[in-house]
Every structure is written in structure tokens, then in C-alpha cells.
Symmetry: C2
């Protein structure tokens, strides 16, 4: 088994959706990713929390075997995002972003993490993503995510990141924004020219497109009739995808990438069934296997 390093945000989120509201529920890309990836592989996490960060919230990760020595605790408050989903559960409306200690986050990779072979750069400033990569000795596989804010404000830096990553996992709208295309296939083709060997275009409730030079692959999401909160679905997908790749540890086989995407679909379908990380933290492997069988039944010809 290979060690995964994830660098991303740790947050408390206040979220309202048509299904209800959650106040200061645990969130952040690094938490979703770590909870998902730790079902497959050893995970090391780097992030920053404030002095309000609850002991139980560290424990949620350590209970799953996640190495949290890379979580810096700083004076001040933990990052707090306030958001809303209206009818379109595919689109979050940001009401407030209180960066707090996350504002001056400068990821320091602990010495004992520097030999990590799988590195996931969650959605943070591309300048910081580059700084993380400089601190890793010899990564075997690097994947990253990003968002519209960086695409519009730091595209040159983002392109430097893309030149160094093997896999980009990105939302469909963001893929289109990077490439000025309006179609997942066309965008993925352009993104491959920027460096990545594979792109996973995440389409929310419509699933994903996996695009590589060797071939591509498209499947829908696992259908959920009652979505409670879509927050973190993309980070959960990334965690399951990357966790599976690290567990298999057989390089860059298209067949492995396909199965990794399916794991992403399955785990993210649980995340959206409750607010924050509530469903994901209780998830058992038996539940994943049950849903896997159902997924094959409803998508395979």
C-alpha cells in the first residue's frame, strides 16, 4: 500500500439546501478527501485549523488511520464557509467566506511526509500547490483540483501546476472555463495538452468523463432520489478515486482509472445523503459493496 498525501482546506460550513440547514458542520476538501481515501489507503493530511477546532474532529480522521500530524493549529478561527443550494443542487451559492486562519495558509510538509508517493493537491491557490510539490521528494502520481476563482485570477500559475500533475479532477464548468470550450469532451482534449495524462471531468448528478490519451470513459452518477447536501461530493470522488489508485499501485492503466472513477461515484453518492461529512464518516465497506452491485445493475448493458 502506498502513502497518500493530501493538502487542502479544513472548514466548518453553514449550509442550507431545500432539505434543511446545518450550522458549522464539519467540512473542507481535506476532510472529505481523507475520509474517502482512508477506506482504501494510508492517508497523510496537511492543512490548517484554528484554536476552535474540536478534538473530536481530529479524532474522526485518526480513527480512520489518517495521519494528522500535518494539521497546523493556529491562533484564530477555523475557515468558515456559508453557502446555499436552491433548486439546482449542482450549483452552490456562496453567502460568506470567512477565511480566518486559512487566509495565510502556507503548507509545510512534515519531514515524515516527504516520501509520499501519491500526492493530491485539493483546491487551494496554485502558488501553494506548486510549493507543496517542491517539498515532495519523488512523487509517483500527482493529482489536483481547482476552482473558478483561481482560473480567473491565476491562470498562468495554474498552468504551471497542470504541467506537473498526472491527473486533473475538475468540475465540468471549470474545465470549460480553463479551455473556453463548452463541452466536456472538447475541454478534456484541450486540458491534456496542458500536461495531465488524464482528466476526470466531474458532472455532479450526471456522473463523469474520464479522458486519457489511450481512451475515454463516461458514466452517470449513482442515482439518489433525495439529495440532502451536495457539498463535498467532488472531494469525496477525488478521495475515493485516488485512494483506489494508491491501493492498486499499478501505474496508469486505463482499466484501473475506470474502476477508480466508479469508486468515486459510489462514495460521493453517500456524501450527498446527509449534511457535511455525516454520512461519509459512518460509511462501511459493506455499504459501498452493496451500492457497487446496484450501480453495475443499472448502468451495464
Amino acid at each position: 500500500m502506498s502513502e497518500i498525501l493530501v493538502v487542502g482546506s479544513i472548514a466548518y460550513d453553514t449550509i442550507s439546501t431545500p432539505a434543511g440547514k446545518a450550522e458549522r458542520t464539519l467540512g473542507g476538501s481535506a476532510n472529505y478527501f481523507s475520509l474517502a481515501a482512508s477506506l482504501y489507503s494510508k492517508v497523510r493530511v496537511v492543512g490548517v485549523v484554528g484554536d476552535d477546532y474540536a478534538e473530536a474532529d481530529y479524532e474522526m480522521l485518526t480513527k480512520r488511520g489518517v495521519d494528522t500530524r500535518g494539521l497546523q493549529k493556529q491562533k484564530g478561527k477555523t475557515f468558515h464557509w456559508t453557502g446555499q443550494y436552491k433548486d439546482d443542487m449542482n450549483e452552490a451559492i456562496t453567502l460568506a467566506t470567512d477565511l480566518n486562519v486559512f487566509e495565510h495558509f502556507n503548507p509545510q510538509i512534515p519531514a515524515e511526509y516527504k516520501n509520499s508517493s501519491y500526492v493530491f493537491l485539493a483546491n487551494i491557490d496554485p502558488v501553494l500547490q506548486l510549493r507543496v510539490l517542491e517539498q515532495i521528494e519523488r512523487p509517483k502520481l500527482v493529482a489536483s483540483d481547482t476552482m473558478n476563482f483561481w482560473i480567473s485570477s491565476k491562470l498562468p500559475e495554474l498552468k504551471k501546476v497542470l504541467a506537473k500533475v498526472d491527473v486533473l479532477l475538475i468540475n465540468e464548468g471549470e474545465a470549460d472555463a480553463i479551455t473556453s470550450k463548452s463541452n466536456a469532451i472538447a475541454s478534456a482534449q484541450e486540458i491534456l495538452k496542458l500536461g495531465p495524462k488524464a482528466v476526470v471531468v466531474k458532472r455532479g448528478e450526471y456522473g463523469f468523463v474520464l479522458y486519457t490519451k489511450e481512451g475515454y470513459f463516461i458514466l452517470p452518477a449513482f442515482p439518489i432520489a433525495e439529495v440532502v447536501d451536495p457539498t463535498g461530493a467532488g472531494d469525496t470522488f477525488a478521495g475515493a478515486f485516488f485512494g483506489y489508485l494508491a491501493k492498486q499501485n499499478n501505474g496508469f492503466e486505463l482499466a484501473t482509472l475506470k474502476q477508480a472513477c466508479v469508486q468515486g461515484v459510489l462514495l460521493s453518492s453517500f456524501t450527498v445523503q446527509a449534511f457535511g461529512v455525516e454520512r461519509l464518516r459512518k460509511l462501511t465497506w459493506a455499504e459501498v459493496e452493496g451500492r457497487h452491485a446496484e450501480y453495475l445493475k443499472v448502468t451495464n448493458l
Copy 2:
């Protein structure tokens, strides 16, 4: 082989998309449906055209073996729709609707059509859809489509139609509008309560959900990097779907419905590659088979 009757619109469309513009290109639900369905089964069409309707446009159908005796020619102009697609190719913006002879369309089913065993009610006034059904002796399978205009203006009449149809094929947004749900699975479950034994929720570039009491099935669309004009994709899907069902003529097997949906995906993927019916009218069976093999490759685990 069973005979399919389709009742729908015949139109000239003026369409602009990011890929260009087409003036008075041949369209209308009955044309798209008939061109697609006639690759599988015998088709009989009922509709209304004006005295400007070109001889060559009848011939397009008769060359494919479609029985056009049900096309009434009336004084005046053929229905003319003017529409536009901007960045979102999933959403048509109507600029003008010149109903012309279509305004007082009153479908008369020719005596020789009354024994049709497969009946497709394309998107027309639900009052007319009911009037069509009254004229058919003993249909074996009835399917229908509709649109937001009828959902908001004639929901009680539409529900009477749904009580009489076996399959509803409908866009995702329209399915949600009928049921006040915001999710294809939830909407499909509600629609089954209104009468249909199966619902096909069409999701444009994201494919479809097939939902029945016996099970459901979800797949993406065939990926097209350069969509020229999405007009008619849904009617093409319906034509291929229904044509395949009539050809198999084995009732209501889930396995048959699944394969019928795949035929819908394949044929509609050709329609969007050119304006109007241009790509569909030239389509060969060998092309469909080639794309079928590719589709299986990129969607099957």
C-alpha cells in the same frame, strides 16, 4: 414487423447556434421521429403542411418507406419555428413561433392507419393527443412526449393522456415540472403513479434515465465534441426508441426497453452533428453499428 403511427409537427426551422445558422431548414417532431423510426420499422405519419411544403421534403420520408398519406396539405404556410442556442446547448431560446397551418391542426387518422399497433403522440396539444387515441382501434403500445407549454396550461388534459400511455418520453426539466420534484429519479417515480408503465427522462448531453416498476437504467449520451444543432435530438431519440420496440415486438421487457434507449442515444448523437434533419436523412445502418460498438466501449465496465 409492426406498424408505427406518429402524430406530430412538420416544420421549417430557422436556427442559430454557436456553430452557425440555418434558414428554413426542415424540421418538426414528426420528421425527426419518422426518419429515425423508419430505420427499424414501417412508419405512418400524420401531420399538417402548408402549400409551401416542398415535394422533395415529402420524398425524404417516402424514400425511407414512410407512409405519408396522413400528411394533410392546407392552404397557407407550414409551421415555422425560429430559435437560438447560446452557450448552453441543452436549452433552446424561442425567438418566434409562426404556427401557420399548425394552429388549427386537427389530426385525422386515415382509415388505413387505424389498425396501427404502435402509436407515438409527439409533442402536441394533449386534447389532440386524446383525439388521436380515440381513433385507433387497438393499439398495442402507446408512447407520448409533451412540453412545458402544455404542462403549465393544460395539466388536467395532459394527465388524461398519461393515464392512457404506456411510455412517456420527456425532458428532465419537464419531468420535474409535471411532478414538482427536482431530480430525475424522484420525478420518474411520481410519473409512474400517473399511468405510464415506463418513463424515459431525456437529459440531453447527459443521456437518459429509464424508469419502470421492474427496475431502472441510466446511461450517458454518446459524446459529441462538436455539437452543431441540438434541435430534434429528443424526437430522434423517441423515433429510434419506438422503432426498435416495434421491430422487436415482444411487449414490455426491461431488457428490450434498455436496448431501445441505447438506439435512441445513438441516433440522436448523429442528429446533433448538423442542422435540422441533414445528418439523420443520410444516416446509414453501418454508421449506427460503428457508433454502437464505440458506445459500448466507453460506457461498459
